[in-house]
């Protein structure tokens, strides 16, 4: 696409990137202050509560990480932050699954929204791995027993050569750094997808004909 009035140069990667972003995610779509009126249902709230819970998971986790993995066993303040972390994880999974149920029954993957759905399921799976490494990082009986039992399933897949559930340092590093980064990146992509494509229209009232069994039909 040739440069329009105001562009300094054609062939500029930066200008091309800016045009793509403007076209695919203009500010009005990224931060709309209106929604189609069918978004008036409590089911639509599950996703944002999941994100809110994730914020509290991360913030409480940051405090726990700042004081080191043993702190919460030795200090009542530490124990309190561990409790915040524990319950915000419970709230996170409760609302993520409610969000999944809601989106499933709304068939929210319609009209080009399959990537949004797929990123969501992958985020769910990675969250489960993150929670798993968290349980392994507790440094208590539960962590020991989970490690001793999970090792067999992990080893059976061959992944045990790399992912050693008995190696606290490795599990802790995955838990406080690598997996949160992955989850936050995936959630970001998920939200961008939702904002780019808008909320899916109700079943039977889409802009395009709904996909049916016969893939040849338009």
């Amino acid at each position: 696409m040739k440069g329009r009035v105001g562009d300094e140069s054609t062939g500029s990667w930066t200008a091309a990137a800016r045009r793509q972003l403007e076209r695919r995610l203009p500010w009005e779509n990224l931060l709309p202050d209106r929604q189609p009126f069918y978004v008036g249902s409590w089911v639509y709230v599950f996703g944002v509560v999941t994100i809110a819970a994730l914020v509290w998971v991360v913030l409480s986790g940051v405090v726990l990480a700042a004081f080191g993995p043993q702190w919460w066993h030795l200090s009542s303040v530490g124990r309190f932050f561990n409790s915040l972390h524990f319950w915000s994880v419970q709230v996170f999974f409760v609302f993520m699954v409610l969000h999944l149920w809601g989106q499933y029954f709304m068939a929210s993957w319609r009209e080009g929204r399959a990537p949004t759905w797929m990123i969501g399921v992958v985020t769910f799976a990675i969250s489960i791995v993150a929670a798993f490494t968290g349980y392994l990082s507790q440094q208590n009986f539960d962590a020991q027993y989970i490690a001793m039992n999970a090792k067999d399933a992990v080893n059976s897949t061959g992944v045990g050569w790399f992912f050693n559930v008995l190696n606290f340092g490795q599990m802790y590093g995955l838990h406080v750094m690598l997996l949160p980064i992955a989850i936050i990146a995936l959630v970001f992509l998920h939200i961008v997808q939702v904002r780019m494509k808008g909320v899916v229209p109700p079943i039977g009232h889409g802009a395009k004909p709904a996909v049916r069994w016969d893939l040849r039909k338009k």
Partner: protein, 319 residues
């Protein structure tokens, strides 16, 4: 003044829009969820059953500890025969026919139970004890066959062992130097020294608990505690938490397979469960493309409840 642009995509569909403040929504969600989380944290706290140690094990059940240590010394414990990634055994290698990713992955953790769990810690303790040093030399000089005989005899005798002041006593028999070695090991364990000896190696810092955890896993000590807390595999343990706390309810389907045949009967049960769950997860990812699975929302019309105002209004305006 409502601009068409601020309504975004909806206006292009010709649908009525309403004001909707996304940032206020997330702020309310954060406050509401924080209130709930704070209340739960303040009133219920969080679970923390203290970890077990080699020391607590050896003190609570010196016979079980000695029995396990005897197996480790002879290379006959479960983990000594495990296989990849710890060693070259075959006892716990899972495969479905020729499909054996565990074997293909190979040995990487390199645990040598007889030396790592028994002989090397004893040699460290023997640095000041020439008598113990001599006992260990006697053991090492014996043939593998002789060592095996001592192990088998001692294992049988331990079934009727008694404990006095933390020390294990068995009936007389030909066990070679094994009882003396293991008696010292029990003392080291009960004093708390073995926990440290199993972790340290030739470097200062250590965060890898492979050795002490495998040693504890070989014994019977934790299974009692775990059973009380319903953490074991055939108690749906994977989704349970210690105490009165909710566990990992999202693992319900993963742990369900372990409760039913064939998963709970075959030697490759773990591998089978992982494969089934990987397939189901893949199906969930690909729902938009799978006929049938993607049509269930139409067949079970929960959507009619969610969007009932929309359908009612659309019917009115088109009527």
């Amino acid at each position: 003044m409502i601009s068409e642009r601020s309504a975004g995509q909806a206006s292009q569909q010709g649908v009525r829009t309403i004001p909707y403040d996304l940032l206020k929504e997330i702020a309310i969600a954060m406050v509401a969820s924080l209130v709930v989380i704070l209340a739960l944290a303040i009133f219920l706290s969080s679970p923390d059953v203290p970890s077990v140690t080699i020391q607590s094990w050896a003190q609570a059940d010196p016979v079980d500890f000695t029995t396990t240590a005897n197996d480790e010394l002879a290379g006959q414990s479960v983990t000594a025969n495990y296989g990849p990634p710890y060693n070259h055994g075959t006892g716990s290698v899972q495969s479905i026919g020729p499909f054996s990713p565990q074997s293909w992955a190979g040995v990487h953790a390199n645990v040598d139970q007889p030396h790592d769990f028994v002989i090397n810690p004893l040699k460290r303790a023997a640095s000041n004890d020439t008598q113990l040093g001599g006992v260990i030399k006697t053991y090492e000089a014996a043939s593998a066959d002789q060592q095996g005989k001592w192990h088998d005899a001692y294992a049988t005798a331990l079934k009727d062992a008694t404990v006095a002041n933390g020390a294990v006593t068995v009936a007389n028999g030909d066990y070679g130097p094994v009882p003396v070695m293991l008696a010292v090991l029990v003392q080291l364990a009960q004093a708390g020294a073995l926990d440290g000896l199993l972790l340290s190696s030739d470097h200062f810092y250590q965060t890898d608990y492979t050795k002490p955890l495998l040693f504890i896993n070989d014994g019977g000590y934790v299974s009692g505690i775990a059973h009380d807390q319903h953490l074991t595999g055939n108690q749906w343990g994977m989704m349970n938490e210690t105490g009165l706390y909710p566990g990992q309810t999202w693992l319900w389907l993963y742990t369900l397979w372990y409760q039913i045949p064939p998963f709970n009967q075959v030697s490759y049960g773990d591998l089978l469960v992982v494969l089934v769950m990987a397939l189901l997860t893949l199906l969930l990812v690909l729902v938009p493309f799978i006929p049938g699975l993607r049509d269930i929302p139409r067949w079970i019309p929960v959507y009619r409840l969610i969007w009932r105002r929309f359908y009612a209004e659309t019917k009115r305006t088109s009527a």
